[in-house]
């Protein structure tokens, strides 16, 4: 299966672990991801704060640059996914903004027909297009005994984009059940990580981060799985600052769901970007997988 691939800026550096694990997992699943040539930043939430039309025009350039042979575009970042999808819909539904976006693209010698490209989030591609049977076939190192907390955040599940339930999404939960993990059912899996609020109001942002970490810890998660670079960054990099502010003692690894998918597929940890997270994830993974190996040996010897 061939898809156009839009990595987005975070995956180039601050979330390089997401990019390498996406590519490794895609290869294992024989998904062909062809990077959009010379793509530009989606503008995150910042461009919409300032200027809606320019925000949409900047995003639409990426839609226009998708290889004409391809009709699906995969974005692993939640904000990129939402912006690309929202702009495509807006161009189709809002005649006035649509006409202005067309005119702006034309100034750069480009054009795009709304609806030509179907924007997909990576989680949905793996869940829907690959599906349970094929995912299970690829599992060589089941995640038995590992307690994972799937964290969806906001922009993959809301606004209503038809990808999953907006209140109680389940795709990542099911995916990790296929991998043999113990998936914890905690109430904040689709709540907000604070986004860029960490830069603007720490007191507001850190409280949102604390609630998520607190809930996952109360449900005895070994780690949180993310579908979005912003969520991973906030929960991981700000964890020690949150501990300082609230006198808590969180030490919870935060990884991308593709990293753990890669572990289950038997890909070496070094090839999945582990070691880039601030709160180390490898000790708990190695401990759980070692328990599993010793359990298997005990079962065999019995």
């Amino acid at each position: 299966m061939k898809y156009a691939y839009y990595p987005g800026c975070s995956l180039e550096c601050s979330s390089a672990a997401y990019d390498v694990s996406v590519r490794a997992v895609a290869e294992a699943l024989q998904l062909e991801f062809l990077e959009v040539d010379d793509w530009n930043c989606c503008g995150a939430t910042e461009y919409f704060t300032q200027d809606e039309l320019t925000a949409c025009a900047v995003i639409a350039r990426n839609l226009a640059l998708v290889d004409p042979q391809l009709d699906q575009l995969v974005a692993p970042c939640a904000a990129c996914f939402l912006n690309l999808k929202k702009t495509d819909q807006l161009m189709a539904e809002n005649r006035e903004i649509g006409a202005n976006i067309h005119a702006a693209l034309a100034a750069g010698g480009l054009s795009y027909r709304p609806g030509r490209v179907r924007v997909r989030h990576l989680l949905d591609v793996i869940y829907t297009d690959i599906g349970e049977a094929a995912v299970r076939r690829h599992v060589v190192r089941p995640l038995n005994g590992l307690r994972v907390a799937p964290f969806y955040g906001c922009q993959v599940v809301r606004p209503i984009l038809g990808e999953d339930d907006t209140e109680y999404p389940m795709k990542m939960d099911e995916l990790f059940t296929w991998l043999g993990a113990e998936v914890i059912d905690y109430p904040v899996k689709a709540h907000c990580c604070g986004g860029h609020m960490t830069q603007i109001s720490e007191s507001q942002a850190f409280e949102l981060i604390r609630r998520l970490l607190q809930s996952a810890v109360e449900y005895e998660a070994d780690m949180i799985l993310c579908t979005c670079p912003m969520c991973q960054l906030n929960l991981d990099a700000y964890q020690s600052r949150v501990n300082g502010l609230f006198h808590t003692d969180f030490k919870l690894p935060i990884v991308f769901f593709t990293q753990m998918l890669g572990v289950a597929f038997g890909i070496e940890l070094q090839k999945l970007g582990f070691g880039k997270e601030i709160v180390a994830a490898t000790p708990v993974i190695e401990a759980r997988l070692a328990e599993q190996t010793s359990d298997m040996q005990m079962t065999k010897s019995q």
Partner: protein, 190 residues
């Protein structure tokens, strides 16, 4: 019919907000149920919850609305939007109010416009976001004291190879800039 009637009597500020928001015509259907504020992770920090804001917009209280902190508490989580029984695109209304507040010089209580400006200036220049440039410029010019607290975090990101010190420029930056210029001209934004 209800919508037509409401629009005929709409305050001038209501018309302004509706025009600035895609799908903004739905604002007149607000029932004052309060699902929005109740769903908001930052609702308790808002001077006015969204439903109060809608009532103020209806009452033409332009300055009070645009100088409030409400939209600057919005983290774009879209809970209010998906839960609104009247299908008002509330998150989009918040974006529109942010833009109107910035343009009217009424954006108070927040560094968000400065962050947005620094972010988009870098995007316009390079075509990609540049996190180190964003953080260093934003903190240096707008929050110099907070820079000290960010130091250890920046260092741990850097040592794990998660922070590039130089920006990446896309190949066809002229094309992107031509698109941006045209969009600005058509939208009338600065």
């Amino acid at each position: 019919m209800i919508q037509v009637a409401a629009n005929q009597h709409a305050s001038s500020f209501l018309r302004e907000v509706m025009a600035a928001t895609p799908g903004g015509q739905r604002i007149v259907h607000c029932l004052q149920c309060g699902s929005c504020g109740g769903s908001c992770p930052n609702g308790a920090d808002m001077q006015h919850t969204p439903r109060t804001l809608f009532a103020l917009i209806n009452a033409d209280q332009r300055e009070q609305v645009l100088s409030s902190n409400t939209m600057w508490c919005c983290v774009s989580c879209y809970f209010c939007t998906t839960r609104c029984p009247q299908k008002i695109p509330i998150t989009e209304v918040m974006y529109a109010l942010k833009r109107l507040a910035i343009r009217s010089g009424l954006a108070k209580h927040t560094d968000a416009p400065a962050l947005a400006r620094t972010f988009t200036d870098l995007l316009d220049k390079y075509g990609r976001s540049f996190e180190f440039g964003l953080a260093s410029r934003f903190y240096l010019f707008h929050k110099p004291l907070a820079m000290l607290k960010m130091g250890p975090l920046g260092w741990s990101m850097f040592t794990r190879g998660r922070m590039a010190l130089t920006p990446t420029r896309i190949k066809n930056i002229e094309q992107l800039q031509a698109i941006i210029r045209k969009a600005r001209e058509l939208g009338g934004a600065s």
